[in-house]
Amino acid sequence: MSTNAHAVDSATMSTPVFAPHAAEASRLPLRAALLRLTCFFALIAVLAWSANEIIGIGLRRLTTTHYGSWNAVMQGKVNADIVISGSSRAAYHYDPRIIEGVTGHSAFNLGRNGSQTDVQLAVLNAYLEHNRRPLLVIHNLDAFSFVPTSEIYDPALYVPYLNDPELYSSLTAIDPGLKKSRYIPLYGYVVEDMNFSWMLGVRSLLGVPPSERSFGGFTPQNRTWTDDFESYRKMHPDGVSFPVEHSGVDDFTQLIRTCEKNHIHLIFVYSPEYSEMQEMTTNRREIFAEFQKLSTTYQVPLWDFSSWKYDANRAYFYNSQHLNATGAELFSNDLAVRLSVWFAHQQQGTPEPGASVR
């Protein structure tokens, strides 16, 4: 290392180095200068607005991935008999192709990754606004179902449709920050969205859409067990608890009332969860007591798959909360068989035997 020129041994006071000034140029009159600056920023605003519109058009044209599924919903192209709603556990667990094959009723998966009950309700309301009412809504339950949303996950999914009054009002009631995505160009696609979803919109317009990974809203997870649960368990040696918030319970009540108002049957399903995670949830009794209370009060069947025959087998999960594609296939079959029985009882007008509840 050369030190002669730069050794730290000068005894003289340091001389600050200033940013070089622009070379002397003809000074623009103030009015002309302001006009130029205004025109330039106006150009940026126009470009941003144009890009926002182009991306929105591109995203609305997608027919693949979960964007394609959502577009089908908002464009009224679904009209299924059975709709599954819920979080990522709904999106990754319930295969509508299997349910359709076994029950003979069309099915669609409205599950939303990273969502809580409030957002799931908003999504269901949007579905009902644009599609004919289904016969049955299966709402997937989670241990964290009673926790309200603090921030909309995957906002780029909704930004192209924020001019839909119903969707806009229900989502901004949950996350008021979403208003900026409607009124500030590109805000929803670059500031709120971390996944560069805008590139999907551009690809769609260029005729190079992403490959299909979703089937009727269901996204199979071709993954194997990861180490996430072990890290999670180390971080929480005393277990975890999920709050039962009053607003979360209210969301469930609203969901039930929405289905009642639209004469839609509703079934709560607690889909499989890895057994060791169930043991880690310290307030599981409290959470299920609340599920049971809602089920009893509003006469909503509660199907609890907590004791699913494979819930201790890591081969069917990729983490403690989610089944992989193989596990989802097995579960969907089991669920579909039970649904067939339920439909048969409905047709005969006889009640189904009570659900098992832990």
Partner: protein, 479 residues
């Protein structure tokens, strides 16, 4: 408030417009009010701490100038001690107690304590040092005491450089608040371009690389040697782009308002020695330590052994300035060791290179010097970034192990981000090299307006579309 926030995008144009509309005599009041709003956007009540330090040093400056002899020196030390006490309480209290407790326990005296929940005020280290340089310069007779409280307070709180520098000297900045600054199109556009470049560095480069670095350094034991190496290299660019990007935005914003702030970075990763690196990295801080710590200790005008001590102490204290953690002290000390070894072995290395036929200014020698300096700097950054010494040691000892090309991505940084990240770094380096070798700005100035605006608009849209905006604070805010 953060520069990369919607609030600042509204705040700055409004303040700038008001600044140029107001008569000159009211502008410093506007800047002070705006700076208060800027600072209170973080934790409002902590502005009281700023007011306390401003009050202490404002009075101290006047009293020092009016005093003489021993009283003058006493007032200087009282001011320094008072200001440093504020810094110590908010920044080093828990660190001091933890270190003392750890040492006591290691010696068999079992004592325990409850850590005080003290939140570090944003930018405390920066404005504290700026205030200290003011009283010291007044004491040395190189700066007249500022008798106008509004002007002095604005000097300390000037919002472009309030929370992360550059750490200004009173001789440079103070007088600028009394000078009228008219609206000049060329100066304003120069400032805007500087800000745009700063936002590119921060949003497109630094915050993107941070996704990878944060994942790996949060849990180094869960990542492979390849991931540790990539994270370490990425961190070198992350911290440079984060900090120099902030400085660019600060300098550009000040420029728009008519103020000239000092340069804080000068392409430090092109240095060919640690000494050169510290002339190019965080220039305002390194010159502050040189002028107020190193030279008063004797600098180089002391016996060799004492010179070595002066260098090591200066760098260790510089490390401690960065944070209340032994990793920062170790990082600073390591840089001091690099400098000392480089200085002590200079003549041997010269002889070696001459003996093998690699002359002083040959390309081969320059490449060897540059690459060695870069590697040593990156190794030192491990200490800076690691959460603790145990993590730092783990990273050091596992950089070369377990390289698995199929395990590159992390939880937040998908593989498809890698080309964008590397592309952004390349664009940065091309931009820096081009600017150093070609008068880019004057060449673009000769283009027709439509071509020029198209280039500028394309750059702005690139920053908008490829930036990461998830409310990431500038790294140096925590100092």
């Amino acid at each position: 408030m953060l520069f990369n926030s919607l609030e600042f995008a509204i705040f700055f144009p409004v303040v700038t417009a008001l600044y140029f509309v107001l008569p000159h005599r009211w502008r410093v009041h506007l800047l002070l009010a705006a700076s208060c709003c800027f600072y209170m956007a973080f934790i409002p009540v902590y502005i009281l701490i700023l007011f306390v330090t401003i009050g202490i040093d404002y009075c101290a400056g006047m009293w020092i100038e009016d005093a003489d002899g021993r009283r003058r020196k006493l007032l200087l030390w009282l001011s320094i001690l008072s200001t440093c006490t504020v810094l110590f309480i908010f920044k080093y209290y828990n660190f001091g107690i933890d270190s003392f407790t750890g040492l006591a326990n290691a010696l068999g005296w079992h004592i325990s304590h409850r850590a005080a929940s003290i939140i570090l005020p944003i930018g405390l280290s920066f404005h504290t040092f700026q205030s200290l340089s003011y009283v010291i310069e007044v004491y040395r007779g190189r700066q007249k005491a500022e008798r106008n409280l509004i002007v002095y307070a604005t000097y300390v709180m000037f919002f472009p450089q309030l929370v992360a520098g550059p750490i200004e000297r009173p001789q440079n900045l103070l007088h600028q608040f009394r000078e009228p600054h008219g609206f000049e199109y060329e100066r304003v556009t120069e400032g805007l371009k500087r800000m745009a470049w700063g936002f590119f560095k921060k949003l497109v480069v630094a915050d993107r690389l941070a996704l990878y670095v944060n994942d790996v350094y949060a849990d180094p034991r869960s990542h492979s040697g390849l991931q540790l190496t990539i994270a370490t290299l990425f961190f070198a660019w992350q911290i440079y782009c984060d900090f120099s990007g902030y400085s660019d935005i600060a300098i550009g914003a000040a420029r728009i308002l008519g103020f000239g702030l000092m340069e804080n970075f000068n392409a430090p990763y092109y240095s060919r020695s640690t000494g050169e690196f510290w002339h190019r990295w965080h220039i305002s801080l390194s010159t502050w330590f040189k002028d107020y710590v190193y030279i008063p200790m004797g600098g180089s005008r002391v016996p060799k052994f004492r010179h070595v001590i002066n260098l090591l102490v200066t760098f260790a204290v510089s490390g401690l300035w960065h944070g209340a953690n032994w990793t920062y002290v170790a990082w600073g000390a390591l840089n001091g060791v690099y400098l000392v070894i480089g200085w002590l072995t200079a003549s041997w290395r010269n002889q070696f290179f001459n003996a093998v036929g690699i002359g002083e200014n040959t390309r081969v020698r320059r490449i060897i010097q540059w690459s060695t300096t870069l590697v040593l700097t990156c190794v030192a950054w491990i200490l800076f970034r690691a959460r603790n010494m145990a993590d730092a040691w783990y990273v050091f000892t596992h950089l070369a192990s377990g390289w698995n090309l199929h395990e590159i991505a992390t939880a937040q940084f998908f593989l498809r981000q890698m080309p964008v990240a590397i592309g952004a770094i390349l664009l940065l380096e091309i931009g820096q090299i081009a600017t150093r070798r070609i008068p880019v700005m004057s060449l673009t100035g000769k283009l027709p307006t439509s071509a020029r605006w198209a280039a500028y608009a394309a750059f702005v849209m690139t920053v908008l579309m490829l930036g990461i905006y998830r409310k990431t604070q500038f790294i140096y805010f925590q100092f």
